[in-house]
Structures are given as C-alpha cells and as structure tokens.
C-alpha cells in the first residue's frame, strides 16, 4: 500500500482493493463505511472543540484581552475541560415539554451538519463521497439543521425559545436564497455541480480570480449569507443573549446543549469549506496559469494543508465579523436580504452568465 501525501487516491483505492480481495463486497463496503464514519466523527469532535478554543482566543485578542490561558499552555486544553464538564452535567427534564421532540432536536441539528461533511473534498482523494450533484447536496443537507432548531424552540414550551426558533426559521428561509444564488454564479463559471470537477477546474487559478468581478461579488455575498445561515453574530438573532436569554437552546443542558454548540461551530466549518471549495480552489494549490516554475513550487505544499489553511482563514474572517459588528434587528436582517443581497445576486448571475458567454473570464 503506497502512501503519497500529494495524491491520496492511490492509497484509498489500494485499501479498497485489499478489502475487496479478502472479504465479500458487502462486508468490504460495510467496513469502509464504518471506518469513514469513525474518522469523520473523530474529526468532527476535534475540529469542533478547537474551533471553540480558536473563537475564544480570536475574540479575546480583538477585545484587547488574553483569553483562556490557564488550562495547559496558552489554555490549549480549556475546551477539553469544558467538554468533560458538559458531559458530567445533569440533563434537566423540562415539565410540560414535548419529550420526544425535545430529545430528538439536538440530534437532527448535529446529523444535518454531519451529513454535509461527507461530501466535502479535504484533499486529493480524501473525499468520502463524490456526488455528481455535490454542491447541491451540501446546500440541501446543511439547511436541514434549521428543522432541529425549530423543533427545539417549539418543544421547549418556552416563549423565548419559540421566538428564537421562529427568527431562525425566517432567517434561514431568506438567506438560503442568497447562498444558493451566489453558488449558482460559480456553478455557471465551472459548468459542473460535482465538487471534484469544480476543484479540478481551478487548476489554473481559483475561481475568485478567474471569474474576477462577478466572482468577487458572489464571494462577498456568500460570506454574508453564510454567516447568517450559521446563526452567528451579527446575525445571531436566534440566540440573542440580551433579549432571549439563549434563544432556542435556553432549556437545554449538559450534553444536549453541547450538541447545539458543537453543531454551530461545525456549520461554520462546513460553510467555510464550501467557500474554499467554490471560490478559493479547495485543496488546489495557488496556481497562476502559465507560470510553470511558480506552480511547481506551490505544489510542494500538500493539498490538505492548502485546504486547512484556506478554511482557517475563512473561519477567521467569520469570527472577525462576529466580534466587530453589532447584532441586527429582525427587520434589518430581512431588509438586508430582500432589498440588497437578493437583487445584487440576481444581477450578478446575469453578469456572470454574460462573462462566461463572451469568454471574458481567465
């Protein structure tokens, strides 16, 4: 079994062959699925924990503070300690709550973000499932999370939770449009919905640069809409600490609260991954069409590190948004979507279609 960090396709296919030779196809596929599931689960937990840590550190630096710095060097184990605390906390049963829905809601939220991760290309060959409608699938699945939020708000039997959930519903219904349309702009440019083809299409320059003006506008719109989709500040009306205590997850405690918390951060990671895959070339190194020497130097950095670095950058930008801007009111939120982002997006799609038609892209 050869292992090449620049191209994991041979590694995964040789592993697949090894299983197929020794086992019946059913068991081979079952073992592969279990292995991928466990790997993604572990990845999910670690990334979620360290995104919480990163958020606390970034927010602290932006507010002239130090942030967590007591548990381990630079507070590196702070979120692990938090997790242990959350695991040991009591799950408080709510009187008059709808027991079944109340218990199901956190799982729906976390499953939605879990399903989306499966279709994200992390590196060449490190891609759990490559649908031919990959980006469409991710959009469809990642917007399922709002059902969990609505159920959580409804079943808590608490007016704050319900208001938070309803706001979240209005928000996702509106901003899903912007996310979809800004991604369609790039789909027009790439001519494919398959994520591997989209990444491969950025070999001679990321779509953000090859698509120039319309791609840049789509990228900015996507960043705003994606921040809103993940219910993060300045669009965190669903939680709105100062008005709704904690919004839809007011009544949750212990590990169920941790699920919501983890799902929020993983949604941010997924959204950043989509932004990276669609606009910044995914795992593709920074290439400039025609500059062979430059491209070869860039190829020395393994694809996974390109992907991780770019994703970390987008996540950092989203944290920068959160810790700079004040929260919007619900009417301002809807005005921003329906009066600004949506018209801009529609015009932008026409521009992009025109640019592609005339061949004005690079």
């Amino acid at each position: 079994m050869e292992f090449n960090i620049y191209d994991l396709t041979s590694f995964t296919s040789s592993f697949d062959q090894l299983l197929m030779e020794n086992l019946s196809p059913f068991w081979a596929v079952a073992i592969e699925m279990i292995l991928i599931g466990v790997a993604i689960l572990a990845f999910y937990a670690v990334v979620g924990l360290y995104l919480v840590y990163a958020e606390r550190k970034v927010c602290a630096f932006m507010q002239c503070r130090v942030g967590p710095n007591r548990v381990g060097p630079y507070g590196f184990f702070q979120t692990i300690a938090d997790l242990i605390k959350l695991l040991m906390k009591e799950l408080i049963p709510i009187k008059n709550a709808d027991k079944l829905l109340f218990n199901i809601a956190p799982y729906i939220v976390i499953i939605a973000s879990f399903m989306a991760i499966a279709a994200i290309p992390f590196a060449k060959g490190l891609h759990a499932i490559d649908f031919n409608i990959g980006i469409f699938y991710i959009m469809a699945v990642s917007s399922l999370g709002v059902i969990g939020i609505l159920i959580a708000g409804w079943s808590s039997n608490n007016k704050y939770s319900l208001i938070g959930a309803m706001r979240s519903g209005a928000q996702i219904v509106s901003y899903e449009l912007s996310v979809g349309l800004s991604l369609i702009t790039i789909v027009i440019l790439s001519g494919s919905l398959q994520l591997s083809t989209i990444v491969e299409g950025q070999r001679d320059g990321w779509f953000l640069f090859t698509g120039h003006i319309p791609a840049l506008i789509a990228f900015l719109v996507f960043l705003v809409a994606a921040t809103a989709e993940t219910n993060r500040g300045p669009f965190d009306l669903a939680e709105a600490e100062s008005e709704l205590t904690a919004g839809f997850h007011t009544e949750y405690s212990g590990i169920k609260f941790a699920f919501f918390f983890l799902a929020e951060y993983m949604n941010m990671f997924i959204v950043a991954s989509i932004a990276v895959t669609m606009f910044l070339g995914g795992w593709m190194p920074f290439h400039v069409g025609g500059w062979e020497a430059f491209n070869n130097i860039m190829d020395y950095i393994p694809p996974f590190f390109w992907y991780a670095g770019k994703t970390a950058f987008i996540i950092w930008v989203m944290m920068w948004f959160k810790w700079t801007f004040p929260r919007l009111r619900i009417d301002q939120l809807l005005t921003l979507e329906w009066k600004y982002l949506l018209p801009i997006n529609l015009v932008n799609i026409i521009i992009m279609a025109f640019v592609v038609l005339m061949g004005w892209h690079f």
Partner: protein
C-alpha cells in the same frame, strides 16, 4: 435614476463603514501589545494598583510613629455599616488640659464596603485608602484590624 444612485451609494457607504469597524478590531488582533489584561498571580511582584483603587482603610503614620487621628469619632458615625469602632480615653496633657486621646481605632474589614465615606469626612485627614487587596484569611477574626500602630501618638499640631 436618482434612486438607483442612492441605492448604490448606500451599499458602498455601508461596506466602507463596515470595513472601518473591521480595521479597528483587525488592528487589535495583530497587535498583542494592545492587550490590557493583567495576568495577576504571575505579575504579583511588579503589580502596582492605580491611585484611585480602594483596597482597605489605612491610617498613615509618619516616621516618628505619629498619626493624625484625634479620636473625634466622625468616621465611626459616618460609616454606613458600622465597620469602625473608636476606643478613646481622657488624658491630661502637659498644659493641664483634659484631652481625648485615641487608644484603638478598630476597623472591621469584613464589614467594609469601601465606600470611602470615612476617608472623605475625616476632618484631619487621618485616614486613607490603601491599595493592598489580598485580604483572604482563614479566620474571620483576623479581619478585625487596629489601625493605629502600637505606641503611636497624635502628630503635633493636629487638632
């Protein structure tokens, strides 16, 4: 036409304003020198509290072990929660006059809210606010302090 121009103006104005805000936080992010947090137990040796910090009530003494307290009792009367007790005695001074002399200025730190009224109302500026804040003790009775040092006397000329 004008409305379209205004619409675009609004968008660009908003984006510019948002970038202005992001520049401030971005500057702080890349300049860790701007951090104002004091890392307390580590910097304990060099920590200096600011002048207006109210840690505890103290009675400053000069180098001859003299204080300015005339035992008038105004601080005791002004203290909202009774954390000051003054024990005084009548003594005859060298001129043959009977005078009130401070024997004990008892300060109950555990009851003090650091409101500063005693310091403000003292007619002879005998009290001040100290900057020591590490008051934790294992026994409540240790919080009752006698502010005048043993053997101290009234400063000459304070009346």
């Amino acid at each position: 036409m004008r409305s379209i121009i205004n619409y675009l103006k609004e968008i660009f104005g908003a984006v510019a304003a948002l970038f202005k805000g992001m520049r401030v936080t971005g500057y702080y992010f890349f300049h860790p020198k701007e951090i104002v947090t004091q890392q307390y137990p580590e910097n304990r040796a060099t920590l200096t509290m600011f002048d207006r910090f109210k840690g505890e009530v103290i009675m400053p003494h000069n180098e001859n072990n003299e204080h300015k307290c005339t035992a008038c009792g105004i601080c005791e009367m002004n203290c909202p929660n009774g954390s000051i007790e003054i024990i005084s005695e009548m003594k005859v001074n060298e001129e043959g006059k009977k005078k009130k002399v401070l024997s004990k200025h008892i300060y109950h730190l555990g009851m003090c809210t650091f409101c500063n009224l005693c310091v403000k109302t003292c007619p002879s500026n005998a009290l001040a606010m100290g900057q020591d804040f590490e008051h934790a003790v294992f026994d409540r009775s240790k919080l009752n302090k006698v502010l005048n040092k043993p053997g101290s006397v009234l400063m000459k000329g304070t009346e």
